[in-house]
């Protein structure tokens, strides 16, 4: 028979005001295996913990049940307490008589009855607990950062500065991401490239950062501290060692295609660097548009390259490398406007998206920083800005708020007033949301000092009238119908998750929300962690985010990585699933339900008379298992047990409640 000690916590009046402690103690004394019962006003206090340690010694207790708050609060505290008294920490069982009892009930009589029932349950489980032990795992002290936008750049720099090696993988030929496309940044109006490019150069020059551009993550295996990642280095067709970045190749290349960086407002060549400050400043050949790769003739770039760096024979290369931690910083896509015919985007050249407007305002953009109508190259006099295009639209867009559009539209209105004197900005909005340091003041500036007229109403239709555009809406504040004749319409397009976000989430065994943004482990208290240990999030891949928030989150993710890589070794979580191969039928239902990829099939050899047969069984990778228990319920023969929550223990708990 086990010698179980029960300790009840008052939690001041939190528990004691609703649960009759004396009566619960009396009931506990009668429970099977209980040899000692005590109570304390605050069990988590040093006095309370000392009382438990002393009782364990004095009464030779071998199991401890504490009736207190949720195990989420103090399970670790009390595990250490019983461990200090010489017991295995998993001999502790907590009955949650606060959150699940005293806090949610008013009637003392029934609350006491429920508390007794919860204690009885915990006692029944404790009587069947086994000692569990963590194992030590080594750590690969190198980090992988996926995505070379401002989030990935910041995270990589911070990790590298802390002294750890970082591989930064970027799928484009250059790092820089969305921020490199922007003109000015709110709310200070400092130039985006001016504050970003020094960081890009820092990345290139940092001794601890290994920059891997034009590459993508192909496969991720392993677990925290020991990830094995396969990276596809796409064939750049340019020898990075030989190339000097002189630019002769793209000056002479005959194929012109729409520049992704310029949002299609300008052309680039088939061999190209996305923008002048690219890092690395070495081109890549876009094979789908290259004359040589499509027709077999041309090779102009090879002829003009003074360094002999053009290599048409290059192949994609798969590189496998080990990492201790991964930061995902893959950013966002802008919303596709296919569903918004009413705004005439794609039908009229003077209807443009906000990101296209950024390129129009940018000094290095297609117009050299002059705001000009794409239709006739003239500066616009009246410009309508339509907010929430694809946002807050559960019918045909994203139901969520894209968070950044109110601020960048205010910025666009301010920039318009600065760049085109006398031009008028009309901003159509549903609500203006400006939570952030100096944000409201910035918005105030747009309409107070820069003359923007804000009209509270979503635009219902944009249509051409001669060489102008007519914008139809209503001002909901006054009830007045609005019909404006303007020269240009700028659509504040919503923020989407990357099109391939789900695919990457599967590779990383992390989850996404309904809109494919990666899920954080806890929305408030674990905002940069994922449910998969060792994988962290930074930037807009987790949800729409502006630059200040992105940089803050990237640095936060870096700290998490650094504190992980700083450890000598990792202790494994011992509450993992365990397969009893005698019972396992090998139907692998467990594998199908495991969200962490922790179950694999294994073939064992068994003797059947004289014959040796191979039989399939499930095997748990204890380093990957997070102890969720999905496999145990899926297993029909009951061959899988979650240690610390065995089937036997759970049935004993049910019996304790029901019998």
């Amino acid at each position: 028979m086990k010698r179980i000690g029960v300790f009840l916590c008052w939690c001041g009046s939190n528990i004691a005001a609703t649960v009759d402690i004396e009566e619960t103690m009396a009931a506990a004394r009668k429970m099977p295996g209980v040899v000692y019962v005590d109570h304390n006003k605050y069990t988590c206090s040093e006095i309370g913990q000392a009382m438990i340690r002393e009782a364990i010694a004095a009464h030779r207790l071998d199991r401890v049940v504490i009736g207190s708050c949720s195990p989420r609060m103090h399970e670790n505290t009390f595990r250490k307490t019983v461990e200090a008294a010489g017991l295995n920490p998993f001999y502790l069982e907590i009955a949650n008589i606060r959150e699940q009892c005293s806090w949610v009930h008013k009637d003392k009589l029934t609350a006491t009855e429920k508390a007794i029932s919860l204690i009885r349950t915990a006692v029944a489980k404790a009587a069947r607990s086994e000692p569990l032990f963590s194992t030590e795992m080594s750590i690969e002290r190198r980090a992988l950062v996926i995505g070379g936008g401002i989030a990935g750049i910041q995270a990589a720099l911070d990790i590298a500065d802390a002294g750890f090696e970082v591989d930064l993988v970027e799928k484009e030929p250059s790092i820089g991401g969305r921020m490199a496309q922007l003109d000015k940044t709110f709310p200070t109006l400092d130039c985006s490239a001016c504050i970003l490019t020094p960081k890009m150069v820092d990345v290139a020059q940092h001794g601890n950062i290994n920059l891997i551009t034009y590459s993508e993550v192909e496969k991720v295996e392993g677990f925290v501290g020991n990830f094995t990642v396969t990276i596809r280095n796409r064939a750049r067709s340019v020898d990075m060692e030989k190339c000097t970045g002189c630019g002769d190749c793209y000056a002479k290349c005959p194929s012109k295609v729409d520049s992704e960086f310029e949002m299609g407002l300008a052309k680039r060549r088939a061999i190209y660097t996305p923008f002048p400050q690219a890092v690395p400043n070495k081109p890549a050949i876009d094979r789908a548009n290259c004359r040589y790769f499509t027709s077999g003739k041309c090779k102009v770039c090879q002829k003009v390259c003074p360094a002999g760096a053009i290599d048409y024979e290059q192949q994609d290369q798969l590189v496998e490398k080990k990492y201790g931690a991964i930061v995902v910083a893959t950013g966002f896509d802008t919303h596709k406007l296919d569903n918004y015919g009413e705004y005439a985007y794609g039908k009229h050249p003077d209807v443009i998206t906000s990101l296209e407007f950024e390129r129009l305002v940018n000094a290095s953009g297609p117009t050299g920083g002059k705001i000009l109508r794409p239709s006739n190259g003239q500066p616009p006099k009246n410009v309508a800005f339509i907010q929430c295009v694809g946002s807050r639209d559960k019918a045909k867009g994203n139901p969520y708020c894209a968070k950044i559009c109110c601020m960048y539209t205010a910025k666009h209105a301010i920039l318009l007033s600065e760049k085109v004197p006398g031009a008028n900005a009309f901003v159509f909005y549903i609500d203006v949301r400006t939570p952030g340091k100096d944000y409201e003041e910035f918005y105030n500036r747009a309409y107070e000092e820069c003359g923007a007229t804000y009209i509270r109403g979503n635009v219902s239709k944009v249509f051409p009238d001669g060489d102008k555009l007519v914008v139809r809406s209503v001002d909901a504040l006054s009830g007045a119908l609005v019909e404006l004749v303007v020269d240009m319409v700028v659509l504040a397009t919503s923020v989407d998750a990357r099109a391939d976000a789900r695919e990457l989430a599967q590779k990383l065994s992390i989850t996404t929300n309904a809109y494919n943004f990666f899920n954080e482990a806890h929305p408030k208290l674990r905002p940069v962690e994922t449910q998969t240990a060792g994988v962290f999030l930074a930037g807009a891949c987790q949800g729409p985010k502006d630059i200040p928030d992105t940089v803050a989150q990237a640095s936060a993710a870096a700290v998490k990585v650094v504190s992980l890589l700083n450890k000598e070794s990792l202790l494994s979580n011992p509450t993992v699933a365990e397969v009893d191969i005698k019972l396992c039928s090998g139907d692998m239902s467990c594998l199908a339900v495991c969200p962490y990829g922790a179950i694999a099939e294994k073939f064992i050899e068994e003797r059947h008379g004289r014959e040796i047969r191979k039989r399939r069984v499930a095997e748990v990778n204890t380093a990957l298992c997070q102890g969720c228990g999905a496999c145990t319920v899926a297993c029909r023969p009951g061959a899988i047990n979650l240690k610390g929550f065995t089937n036997e223990q759970i049935l004993a708990e049910v019996d304790a409640i029901c019998l």
Partner: protein
């Protein structure tokens, strides 16, 4: 009631801002002015709407409203406005704009009854002549 590019870009808001010395564009339509106005029950256009109409250049709706002549300039609104807009001054400016636009002479010293001349404060007379006489 219809808003057009020409109306928004008209001179009305600039003129009202110049005459009143107030930033009409600063109003963000919280409507606290209307909520506390002691004579709002008699108004056809509420104080916050006056500002909105001015922002959108809805001249006819503004200048035909009874509100302009009902506002008692008690300054309850202005003492509570979070955007520091002195609304009575804006309304006064609208009266001036309206009267100036109409032209004409409404006040002559010879026509003033003796009772008014005796009792009216000097400031009131100055203000009345500024507004109603040419």
């Amino acid at each position: 009631m219809k808003v057009t590019t020409d109306k928004i870009n008209s001179n009305l808001i600039k003129e009202v801002e110049e005459v009143s010395g107030q930033k009409v564009s600063a109003c963000f339509q919280c409507a606290k002015c209307t909520g506390g106005c002691p004579v709002v029950w008699a108004m056809d256009v509420y104080p916050h709407q006056i500002l909105r109409y001015a922002q959108l250049g809805l001249a006819d709706e503004l200048l035909n409203s009874k509100t302009l002549w009902i506002c008692a300039s008690c300054q309850t609104c202005d003492s509570r406005c979070p955007r520091e807009v002195d609304i009575p001054k804006v309304i006064e400016a609208l009266r001036l704009v309206l009267l100036r636009a109409r032209g004409g002479n409404y006040l002559h010293p010879n026509n003033l009854p003796a009772r008014v001349l005796e009792n009216a404060p000097q400031q009131g007379l100055v203000s009345a002549f500024r507004k109603y006489a040419r």
